[in-house]
Amino acid sequence: MKLLAKVGALLCISVMFSSGHALCDGKNQPSKIKAGAIQVAMIESDETSVPAEFRVALYENLIRQLEKRGFQSVYRDGDRNAASVANLVVLHSTVRRFKRGSEEARQVTTVAGATSISVHCQFTNADGQTLLERDVTGKVRFFGGNLRATYDFAKRASRIAHENLSGADSK
């Protein structure tokens, strides 16, 4: 009888702890930024010279990856339809560092020839007020052409958007 009471008490305590922990977890989760839609601005580069094909690949891959992450409405730069959307979040990307590697060097040496891009991503609202800022890098070290670095960047940037904005489906 005593044993049963002890087990019962232990169970009660463990249930209380676990529910308390769950509540704490809920409180610690950062609230997501409300995004009705996301618009991707053209890729800028202030000091670094970036070849046109890399700029375009960054932009196109970013749009594709955001759509894959479940964002229902992804607008392109200059799209007139975005003007009327409530809670529009605009993603501005500025290339800070760009190093063009060599696919040949990568495959022959496996240690040299990496291509890397460092991009400053700034999420703003329609009025230009900054909501979130992150530096994101894209690299290609072993397999694939130099443009694969833009795909790597797009995947990372879209993950950040998915984690911090509320407009994406859970994928």
């Binding site: 046109a52 799209d79 007139r80 339809n81 495959q107």
Partner: protein, 166 residues
Amino acid sequence: MTFRSTKAFVPVALLAAAIAAANASSQQISKAVKAVQLTGLPGIKENAKGILSVENGNLHFVHGKAISDLSASLIQDVVTGSDSQKAVGKTVGVISTAAPYGGGRFLSLFRSKIDTLTVEYRDADGAFHGAIFTMPVGTAEEIKKELIAQGAHTSSSASADKEQKQ
């Protein structure tokens, strides 16, 4: 009788030839090149191989049954560049990395030069798009010239493109 009928046929034949020549020049079809569309054309999947040409004021790309036409007047920028690709195919290239005594690495030394053509344009809603093509070396500049002749804009001159290639 025969001579007379031949005489009458000559001006008609000349007229028909003139009409045909005028028709051909108004269609303005450039030399078609084999190209790979890396990304950017709506309705065409990535890394699609096809035929690229400039026809009647459009950048025309055909991949199997899929056809994409992009009006040259919508193009805001055309830039050419250069790159290189493995001479040995994708699957074979990857499998060859497992070859003994660095055989795969040796194969990756064989590379072919290619041209890149980057096109930036805006659609009817004003949305910005970009498309990238790769094609045999020496052909991108011809396509670019043809596009500019038919109304496309460019921010870089041929010399600037050459500098970028270097």
